[in-house]
């Protein structure tokens, strides 16, 4: 979180403040209390014995008070974080009812022949998408996304990802490529999360490549990794931006503000992959962009 200072910083601050307070106490006591008064001279060496512990105690007390205050501040920040997450979860939940009503009414209007109803439905879907994305991002960055790793077949992953995307691939041919020798690819991963990553990557490819072009889904195994690539023939990510595309709210320079995305998909995809021991990487060649989801592979015991 950007509003939390790094801990070393505040520790140094506390130490310096404590020492400063200690030094001031030292000087004040010397000036006003120790004879000769109103000079900084300490005539009696025994007075040092009095002064030093006194200063040390004031340093320690000052540090302790500061530390308490800092802890209270951090606790307050954590509380704000918790509230933010609870708010996001509740808002995302409560938005679903009105969105259902809006979609349904738009649908009814559409049946009466009003073409604008389709726009209402599309915008309601876009809002749903955004709310879902924000909630996911909040859960992922708080480390609160449940991960359920199981032995899974890649067939299931591709099946479910295609179920969710093929209907919106209007104009794009989705071509799937499994190992030619018929090998069954299996791995240890969370199926539901991996489906959502792949859906994000496919939706991205649909959005950023020309209709009529092919999007290739390639599954293969490389040593201990399963590689699931989504290849499009779009213009690709500008040079130098290859890592920035994975930061939340990233938008390509010059993109229309309503390009239909809040720039959350890739950030969420990467965090979801990392949460189960995988990764999402990007590569570009002359033909277009390739996003690859890496997941841990598994071996089937000979039966």
């Amino acid at each position: 979180m950007s509003n939390k200072r790094p801990p070393q910083d505040s520790a140094t601050k506390i130490a310096l403040t404590g020492i400063a307070i200690g030094a001031v106490v030292f000087l004040l006591v010397d000036w006003f209390v120790l004879p000769p008064v109103h000079t900084l001279v300490i005539a009696n060496p025994l007075d040092w014995l009095l002064l030093l512990p006194f200063s040390v105690i004031s340093i320690v007390v000052a540090q302790y008070v500061q530390h308490k205050r800092e802890a209270a501040r951090l606790e307050a920040l954590r509380e704000v974080d918790r509230l933010k997450d609870a708010l996001l979860a509740s808002v995302s939940h409560d938005l679903r009812t009105p969105l259902t009503t809006i979609k349904a009414l738009a649908h009814e209007l559409g049946a009466l022949g009003d073409e604008r109803s389709q726009i209402i439905e599309e915008q309601a879907d876009r809002l749903t998408h955004l709310v879902t994305g924000l909630l996911d991002l909040s859960r992922l960055s708080a480390g609160a996304m449940p991960v359920n790793v199981q032995l899974n077949a890649v067939d299931d992953l591709l099946t479910a990802a295609l179920q969710d995307t093929e209907s919106q691939a209007a104009g794009h041919a989705l071509i799937t490529e499994l190992p030619r020798d018929g090998t069954m690819l299996v791995g240890r991963f969370d199926l539901a999360l991996s489906v959502r990553i792949l859906v994000n990557l496919i939706e991205n490819a649909i959005k950023y490549s020309e209709p009529g072009t092919a999007i290739r889904l390639r599954a293969r195994r490389q040593q201990e990794k399963l590689l699931l690539s989504v290849e499009d023939s779009g213009p690709g990510v500008p040079t130098g931006e290859e890592e920035r595309i994975f930061t939340p709210f990233y938008r390509p320079a010059g993109a229309r503000p309503d390009a239909g995305s809040a720039g959350l998909g890739l950030a969420i995809a990467r965090l979801m992959a990392e949460g189960q021991g995988g990764a999402v990487t990007y590569e570009r060649d002359a033909g277009g962009s390739t996003f690859t989801l890496e997941l841990p592979a598994a071996d089937l015991r000979a039966e």
Binding site: H93, T97, A104, L158, A160, L162, L191
Partner: protein, 231 residues
């Protein structure tokens, strides 16, 4: 023809959602009853014996799982669950309790209608039980002869694959959880670590039955929950 009327009960605390469901499903042959909470839902279900129940997962006076289990105590009417992005664990618990299918809010009326129709169709065919063959497109499952034919040619399946296929096909249109499939197939068998291989067995079965194993016609994947036979 009032005798052939279908009765659907919708249980949801949001009047707007009840209105949407009613509007989507009600026509000359279907009447839709409404209940605003679990208690009223159970009472109306007991009194009116609906043919199908649309149940909200987040009711103020009881969770969907308990309501489903209570309903399953005395009715086999299909239960379609409306969920507002509940956790996968909650969905699984709901299916294990006897729910049949779910749609996530916000859903479109068309999607709701399609699911309801599929569930009603299955309920009707299940009523004519005792069939020895399950036919879906060019797939024929002969329960008596324990044989599978695809496009007229026999398909060899292992005993585990056969049990999986029968468990799925006899509950066509209904989501079967991993646990339900496991119980149906491995009951009485030596388990070992079979449960973790369940998904792999399904993938093998699918490769034998589907022309394109990642665009299935028969066995669909419901991530984190299980599988469904048929659309």
């Amino acid at each position: 023809m009032p005798a052939a009327r279908i009765t659907i009960l919708v249980v949801d605390d949001e009047p707007q959602i009840r209105r949407v469901v009613k509007h989507a499903l009600e026509d000359s042959s279907t009447r839709v009853l409404e209940a605003a909470n679990a208690r009223a839902g159970l009472d109306i279900a007991a009194a009116e014996r609906p043919d199908l129940i649309v149940l909200d997962l987040g009711l103020p006076d009881g969770n969907g799982e308990d309501v489903t289990r209570e309903l399953r105590g005395w009715t086999q009417a299909p239960i379609l669950v409306l969920s507002a992005r509940h956790s996968d664990a909650e969905k699984v618990a709901l299916f294990d309790a006897g729910g049949d299918d779910y749609v996530t809010k916000p859903f479109s009326p068309a999607e709701l209608k399609a699911r309801v129709r599929a569930l009603l169709r299955r309920a009707m065919t299940a009523a004519a039980d005792g069939a020895t063959k399950i036919v879906r497109e060019d797939l024929v499952i002969d329960l008596e002869k324990r044989a599978v034919k695809l496009g007229g040619s026999p398909v060899h399946v292992t005993p585990i694959e056969w049990d999986l296929l029968v468990a799925l096909a006899t509950h066509a249109g209904r989501v079967m959880t991993h646990q339900q499939l496991f119980t149906a197939v491995w009951r009485g068998r030596d388990h070992g670590d079979a449960q973790q291989y369940l998904r792999v067995y399904v993938a093998h079965l699918r490769r034998k039955l589907e022309a394109d194993p990642v665009r299935p016609r028969f066995i669909f994947t419901i991530p984190a929950v299980g599988y469904r036979f048929g659309p």
